[in-house]
Point group: C2
Chain length 180, copies 2
Amino acid sequence: MAWSPTHKEQTREKILQSAARLFTQQGFDNVGINDVMAHAGLTRGAFYAHFHSKSELYAEAIVTAALTAQSTLLAALPERATRSQVVNAYLSDTHRRGDSASCPLAFLTTDISQRDPVIRAAYTKVFRGFLNQLEPNSEAREKALRTAVLMIGGMAIARALDDDGLVSELFSACQAGASR
Amino acid sequence: MAWSPTHKEQTREKILQSAARLFTQQGFDNVGINDVMAHAGLTRGAFYAHFHSKSELYAEAIVTAALTAQSTLLAALPERATRSQVVNAYLSDTHRRGDSASCPLAFLTTDISQRDPVIRAAYTKVFRGFLNQLEPNSEAREKALRTAVLMIGGMAIARALDDDGLVSELFSACQAGASR
DNA sequence: GTCTATACTAAGATAGAC
DNA sequence: GTCTATCTTAGTATAGAC
C-alpha cells in the first residue's frame, strides 16, 4: 500500500474528513491533532507529513465541512426543493444535534474571530458561497444576507441555549422570516 | 486593607470585571486564570479564595459582561432612544471591534454549546433578558426573536468575516430587518 | 487573603528508526 | 509515510508561608 501513487492523497483526504467532523462539532481548541489522527486511524507523528500546522488543517477543514454539510442537507430533500424546505432542514433539531454533518458557518461562528488570516479567509469564502446558493442574482442581495443571518445565527444561538422549548420557538420565528 | 469587611467582595468584583472583559473578547480557552488575575492586579494563587473553578468564573462573567455591555451601549444613546438607534449602535463597527464593552451573546455564541450546564444556563438567562428588553409584551415575541437573531447573529458572523465591505453590507441588511 | 512554589496534565511540534 | 519517543510550553489546581 505504501507504494501506491495515490496513497498519500487518500490519507490526506481521510485526515481532512476526520478534522472536518471533529472541528465542526467541538471547535478548534477542544480537538487535538491526536484526536484527529486517531479518528483517521493514524498516530500523531504522521500528521506533519501532510500539513504544516493545526491552523492550516483547520482552514482546510472548514471548507471540507461546508461541502459535506451541503451534500448531506440536500441529499435529504427532493430534487427541486423549495426555499422553505431548505430553511426548515437547516433550522432543524437534527442539524442542531450535530450527529451527522454540520454547517461550520453556524457551528464555528465565534470560534473564527481571532484566528489566523487564512482561517478567517476560509470562513469568509464559505459564507460567500452560502449567499450565492441562497440568491445567485445580486439584486436580492440584502434579503439573502438577512436570510443567511436568520439561518446561521439562529442555529448558532440555538446550540447555546439549554431550553428546548425556547429553541423551537426560535426556530419557528427564524423559519418564518427566512422563507418569505 | 486586609481587615476591611468589604475587601473580599471588592476583590471578587474586580476579578469578575476582568474576567468579563477578557473572556468576552477572547473566549474561554484563550484566557487563562493567570491572565484574569494579572489583569485584576493579583496572582494566580489568590483566585481560588473567590471561585471554585474556571467554569464557575466563566458562568458569572457572562452575566457581568452582559450588564456592562448594556450600560455601555445605552449610555452612548439619548434617554429615549428609538428601536433603530439601539439596533444601529449594536450592529456597529465600534461594537464589532470590541475595545469597549461587548455583548457576550454575540461574542461567545458558539463558545457555549459544549460547556457546563451552569454556563449554558447563564447564557440562556442573558438571552431571555435580551428578548425582554426588545419586547416586554409576549404577543410580539416572534418578531422579537427574529430581531434578536439579526442583531446577535449578525454581529457574531461579522466578527468572523475578513472583508469590511461585506461586513458593512451585512450590517445594513440586518439593521433594515431589525428596525422595522 | 494573597503570595510563591509546585504538582500534574495535556497538547503542539520535532527527531530518528523502520 | 508512518511509527515511537521526546522536547517544550502552558495551564488548572493545590500546598504552605506570611
